[in-house]
């Protein structure tokens, strides 16, 4: 809402010493945030005056152009003295032709600076001293017209043209919150300003509502969505009468274009009062105005020239010809006032807020009128606003205010009972009863004290004041929140983060520590993502939740996997020539396994346990996952050597670091048919028997489809499952201090046998004396035989006492025997 200071001052006796800044600060502290203060007025500085052209000498030039040497009377103060040749005046050379001697023009004198830092000075040109400039509209920043110089219809030579053409003002741009609908008007803002400056306020719109009457244009209300309708006829208006300057100036300051007197006045009164009005050409109305709901198939051409297909939920203004306006949103073309309109019917009605809101949104017509209606217009305001508009039109356009029609009822004023003490209790600071009464009375509430409670009569322009807490807010905001003290309550139970919340944080910190950088990508995906991931038909990542109005049609789903988002982040980095990447993301994925619609229990009381259970059961699965992707160099080549390429080991390390940080040792099982992974380079990750996810190289076709660098590796696991697996406790046993026996074994097995399985067999066979098993070499070659490999393990064997060679050999033999039994492992000679 834009509020010119001059307008506020017209309606409220704001003290003269108050500045725009001080008024703005008061508004902002009331919750009417002033976004900025705009200074309107002339962009011209220096002497700009009215001049009368005394003479004009046409002087053809060699280039074919004709210039005019003019003598211009610019007033006694500025004229050169009279000479034999010329009367008192100044000589000015002008190239435009659209003026005659005797015309009033605008003259920029030397010293004047026009927009664009164009400084005017006397200069010699075409054989004359040109002592100023006769201006066109665009040259002085008044409009776009450069058709010729500006010829004025009034003014006297020497008069300050800046004063004549512009009104200086300061305009506050105020962010009005949805509750304070009365502040979508100068009237409401002036009331707040008056209260804030502790000065009186006279509401020029607070007229008593009339009794129903029907002398004016007939009106029928056929929908409950219109509570009241005032129709005031104005007759004999001069259709060519211009809008007065103060109206044009204020409309411009508020961002509204001047159109015609009738339209300008309706806009002016709307801005001033908050009541949207509409002007009909009375002679174009066919029969009574009827307010009703739209019927199937009806159409309306609105003022903006668009044909609108109407919805059965649209509230309409109609006459015998059908729809002539969308109530509270926009009028229709057929009854529009025009350059010949002499009889006008002014409409000021009370339309249902929700209905106007839906219609405006449905048709994408968020007008100044609909904006006010959807926030609730004072239902008792219409008649007074229509009368004020009628007065302004007749004042500046002639004619007479004709008969009126008023249909509908005055709304009852709401009564709120306020317990004394509630205000101080909620605000946490003592506010005296007299302060409470003073604040509420200045807001226009009727206040009656009765025992220890106040009975408050709420004015019609305050639909936001409904219950006692609303009144507390009204008092608190005007008392000033900054005057409330500060106390710091401390929770009685110091729970802090739960173990699970702490564990999640441990995971994130562990993988970041390992070298991965966290991303938080947008959690949307599309069908092409599902296809590029090569997911099978029965994969539950193919059960996405679809959005009703996705931000991008290409990504209508919520993510079922973190990988596509990470892949996009990889692409972003690559496009910026950042090629060595280790990214991770943690967050919810969404899987719609088929859940019912959500119920909407009453909010009057706590929902029942059954209702709460039904609410929860309606939500799709939202598992938290953890994923990472690596590509390029893990460690770049550098002074210490060739570096290290990022490969499958780093995503496995990621999973292991995450697991270890919460006390879980991962088990890896080789898998060969899981998407989107490489069939020979993928491991399933287990915590105990629970599968957490997969790590490995991406399938080459997936890599290609997402435009990733070859051999990109990734890991994705279900964080929830990992946190579930986190043990609550652990044990520390005695540490054996006897000397360790070291034994190496080389075992030949089929190439398909997993090293981890052989290692596990050795552990199982070696028993508790086998302290550690470390794979230190994998060898394939002719000596071993095709399709086979040799795995070399270092065993460390330790007991409570020093072991003999024979004891150690037994452990080793048992370990090897287990590997032989399970995998046919043969000791390499």
């Amino acid at each position: 809402m834009k509020a010119p200071i001059s307008w506020l001052r017209e309606l409220a006796n704001i003290p003269a010493e108050a500045t725009a800044e001080s008024i703005a600060d008061k508004f902002t502290r009331l919750g009417l945030t002033v976004e900025h203060i705009e200074h309107v007025g002339s962009p011209v500085t220096g002497p700009l005056v009215v001049g009368r052209v005394l003479s004009r000498t046409d002087e053809p030039q060699k280039n074919g152009k004709t210039v005019h040497y003019c003598r211009v009377d610019v007033g006694d103060e500025h004229n050169d003295p009279a000479t034999d040749e010329y009367p008192a005046s100044r000589g000015i050379v002008c190239g435009a032709h659209n003026f005659e001697p005797g015309d009033l023009v605008v003259v920029a004198l030397p010293g004047c600076v026009l927009p664009g830092d164009f400084a005017i000075s006397a200069r010699k040109t075409y054989g004359h001293l040109s002592d100023g400039m006769i201006c066109a509209e665009d040259e002085i920043g008044l409009g776009d017209d450069h058709a010729g110089i500006m010829v004025l219809d009034h003014g006297t030579p020497g008069q300050d043209a800046i004063e004549l053409l512009w009104t200086r003002d300061e305009v506050l741009d105020i962010d009005v919150t949805p509750d304070l609908s009365h502040c979508l008007s100068i009237r409401g803002l002036a009331r707040e300003a008056a209260a804030a400056h502790d000065v009186s306020y006279q509401d020029r719109y607070q007229l008593p509502l009339p009794q129903p009457q029907s002398e004016g244009h007939p009106v029928e209300l056929a929908s409950e969505r219109c509570a009241a309708f005032a129709a005031v006829t104005v007759e004999g208006v001069d259709p060519t009468a211009p809008s007065p300057k103060f109206i044009v100036d204020r409309l411009r300051a508020c961002g509204v274009r001047s159109i015609s007197l009738a339209v300008d006045v309706t806009n002016y009164v709307m801005l001033e009062s908050g009541q949207p009005l509409h002007a009909y050409d009375a002679d174009k109305l066919q029969g009574p105005i009827r307010v009703r709901m739209a019927e199937p198939g009806e159409r309306l051409v609105t003022l903006d020239g668009q044909t609108r297909a109407l919805d059965a939920d649209d509230l309409l203004i109609t006459d015998d010809t059908g729809p002539i306006g969308m109530a509270g949103v926009m009028g229709g073309e057929t009854t529009e006032v025009s350059g010949t309109t002499q009889r006008i019917v002014l409409e000021a009605a009370a339309f249902d807020a929700a209905s106007v809101s839906r219609t405006a949104r449905r048709h994408g017509l968020l007008s100044e009128a609909s904006k006010r209606f959807e926030r609730k217009v004072d239902p008792a305001l219409g008649h007074a606003a229509a009368l004020r508009a009628a007065k302004l039109i007749t004042q500046y356009g002639g004619g007479l205010i004709g008969p009126e029609t008023f249909v509908g009822a005055a709304p009852a004023r709401r009564i709120i009972k306020l317990r004394a003490g509630l205000v101080s209790q909620v605000l946490g600071t003592e506010i005296s009863d007299s302060d409470v009464v003073r604040i509420l009375a200045s807001a226009g509430l009727g206040v009656t004290a009765l025992g220890d409670s106040l009975t408050l009569e709420v004015p019609t322009w305050r639909p936001d004041l409904v219950d006692p807490y609303d009144v507390v807010e009204e008092v608190g905001s005007k008392f000033g929140y900054d005057r409330i003290g500060k106390t710091l309550p401390v929770a009685p139970t110091g729970g802090g983060r739960t173990a699970r919340q702490a564990a999640r944080l441990d995971v994130l910190r562990a993988v970041a520590q390992l070298g991965f950088t966290q991303t938080l990508t947008l959690p949307f995906m599309g069908d092409d993502d599902l296809a590029r991931l090569r997911l099978g038909e029965d994969d539950d990542r193919r059960l996405p939740v679809r959005l009703a109005s996705p931000l991008s049609d290409a990504q209508p789903y919520l993510r079922t996997s973190l990988l596509p988002g990470l892949f996009r982040a990889v692409s972003t980095n690559l496009s910026r020539s950042i090629t060595d990447l280790a990214l991770f993301e943690e967050g919810a994925c969404f899987v719609d396994q088929g859940v019912p619609a959500a119920p909407r229990p009453s909010v009057a009381q706590r929902p029942s346990d059954e209702e709460i259970a039904a609410l929860d059961a309606s939500l799709p699965l939202q598992p938290k996952r953890l994923a990472a992707v690596v590509t390029g160099q893990w460690i770049p080549a550098g002074v210490h050597g060739a570096g290290e390429r990022a490969d499958w080991r780093h995503v496995v390390a990621f999973a292991e670091a995450a697991a270890k940080s919460v006390g879980v040792r991962l088990r890896r099982v080789q898998v060969d048919d899981v998407q989107p992974w490489h069939p020979g380079r993928t491991a399933e990750l287990f915590a105990g028997d629970v599968s957490l996810g997969y790590a490995g190289e991406l399938h080459p076709l997936v890599v290609e489809a997402f435009g990733l660098p070859p051999h990109t590796c990734a890991v994705e696991l279900t964080l929830d499952a990992l946190l579930d697996a986190a043990p609550g406790s652990g044990r520390i046993g005695p540490l054996r201090t006897a000397p360790v026996a070291k034994e190496d074994v080389a075992l030949i097995v089929e190439e398909s046998v997993a090293a981890a399985d052989v290692e596990q067999a050795l552990r199982d066979g070696g028993g508790e004396l086998l302290e550690s098993v470390h794979l230190f070499d994998v060898f394939t070659g002719e000596q071993i035989g095709a399709g086979r490999k040799s795995l070399a393990f270092a065993l460390r064997i330790r007991s409570d006492a020093t072991l003999t060679d024979a004891d150690a050999a037994v452990v080793r033999q048992n370990a090897v025997a287990a590997a032989a039994e399970r995998f046919g492992a043969v000791q390499r000679a």
């Binding site: 807490y469 929770a491 009685p492 679809r546 009381q605 550098g638």
Partner: protein
């Protein structure tokens, strides 16, 4: 220089003469002095102090002398050996020190060479900021409440007293799940978590709920459709606006140091009274207000930076959760994590928060600073 005798020859007793012994000593000292490293010194010691060195041999010959002469000769040789040993020890120390010195010089490395044992990992600034704020509230005894990002309309709007026709429920503002008749959506705020906390935990309640929220917003330099909030909710007996002010002041000081805050009225359906809190601009400290010569980009010369929304919990919200609003009252507040970071740390383009450029997360070295 005379070498050691190859074989013991008792006839060469002339070796015990004073001149001979002095000669041995002179030879030995010369050899010790000539040794330029500890290896050469070791060799010289072997030649002149070892078992077969002239002095050792001479020592052995003492026994062949008449008893009367033994004492004199014994003293002379002992003294000679002592002198040599002392010189060798001194030289040893000298050479070892020089060699250590040399090796330290030789072992010097450029300690400013890059060390890259792993890539530089980092938490996202949003994660770090959430945890920093969480620490502030955990210190006051609060708990952390969590809830689903895909929510029911009841939790996100109905229970929070949002009117049925409120524009926020529209497709323009909210990301609804298809079909809309299922009444499910992506939460537009973390407030539904507060509803869940009230329903599940009851009162008294001191919780914060950080998390992801969603709006049907443009994606541009200043808007994200998905961002993060941290909300707080306290419900207890006698909770007032003064408690809210004190708590937010505590948070502001923890995050921004000694900064002034301003609380002004605002509107939210779920709080009554509602307010917004501004931070005094920490760049211009208000000096840019009404001073066109010193404009401030950070606060747009307004002197204050909008920070968070808050208020006293609307009693209707408490009723919807079965809390007796005559006995209990509460306050709530909510702030944007991304905006807070932009206020503290810059980050001029909000899209950088979600695009995954690793330079963004690494800017603050993975912490909240």
């Amino acid at each position: 220089m005379s070498g050691p005798n190859d074989n013991y020859d008792p006839k060469q007793v002339s070796a015990l003469s004073e001149e001979a012994v002095d000669g041995f000593v002179a030879d030995a000292l010369a050899a010790i002095e000539a040794a330029t490293d500890t290896g050469a010194l070791k060799q010289a010691r072997g030649a002149h102090m070892g078992d077969k060195s002239p002095l050792a041999l001479a020592n052995r010959e003492i026994g062949a002398l008449p008893p009367a002469a033994r004492k004199e000769v014994g003293r002379r040789i002992g003294e000679a050996r002592g002198r040599v040993a002392q010189a060798a020890a001194a030289r040893q120390e000298e050479l070892a020190a020089a060699e250590l010195e040399a090796s330290l010089v030789a072992e010097r490395v450029d300690m400013t060479l890059p060390v890259e044992l792993a890539p530089e990992g980092a938490l996202h600034p949003v994660t770090a900021m959430i945890e920093k704020m969480t620490d502030v509230f955990v210190g006051l005894g609060y708990e952390v409440a969590e809830g689903p990002e895909l929510e029911t309309e009841w939790h996100n709007f109905d229970a929070l007293n949002l009117p049925e026709d409120h524009p926020a429920r529209g497709l323009q503002d909210t990301l609804w799940v298809e079909p809309m008749t299922d009444h499910k959506l992506l939460r537009t705020q973390t407030s539904p978590v507060q509803i869940r906390a009230l329903l599940e935990r009851g009162v008294p309640l001191y919780v914060i709920s950080p998390g992801k929220v969603f709006r049907s917003d443009e994606y541009d330099a200043t808007h994200l459709p998905v961002f993060h909030q941290l909300e707080g909710l306290v419900v207890d007996k006698g909770i007032s606006m003064a408690d809210l002010r004190g708590t937010l002041d505590h948070l502001a000081k923890a995050l921004f140091g000694d900064v002034e805050t301003r609380m002004r009225p605002h509107f939210f359906p779920f709080t009554e009274p509602s307010a917004e809190v501004d931070l005094q601009c920490f760049v211009c400290h208000g000096a840019s207000v009404g001073n066109p010569d010193r404009p401030c980009r950070t606060c747009r010369s307004e002197g204050w930076i909008e920070w968070l929304g808050c208020g006293v919990v609307n009693p209707r919200v408490l009723q919807a959760c079965g809390v007796d609003s005559d006995v209990y009252s509460g306050f709530a507040f909510g702030l944007g994590i991304e905006r807070t970071i932009m206020n503290r740390n810059g980050a001029p383009d909000i899209r950088d928060f979600v695009e995954g450029d690793i330079r963004f997360s690494r800017s603050l070295l993975g912490g909240a600073r």
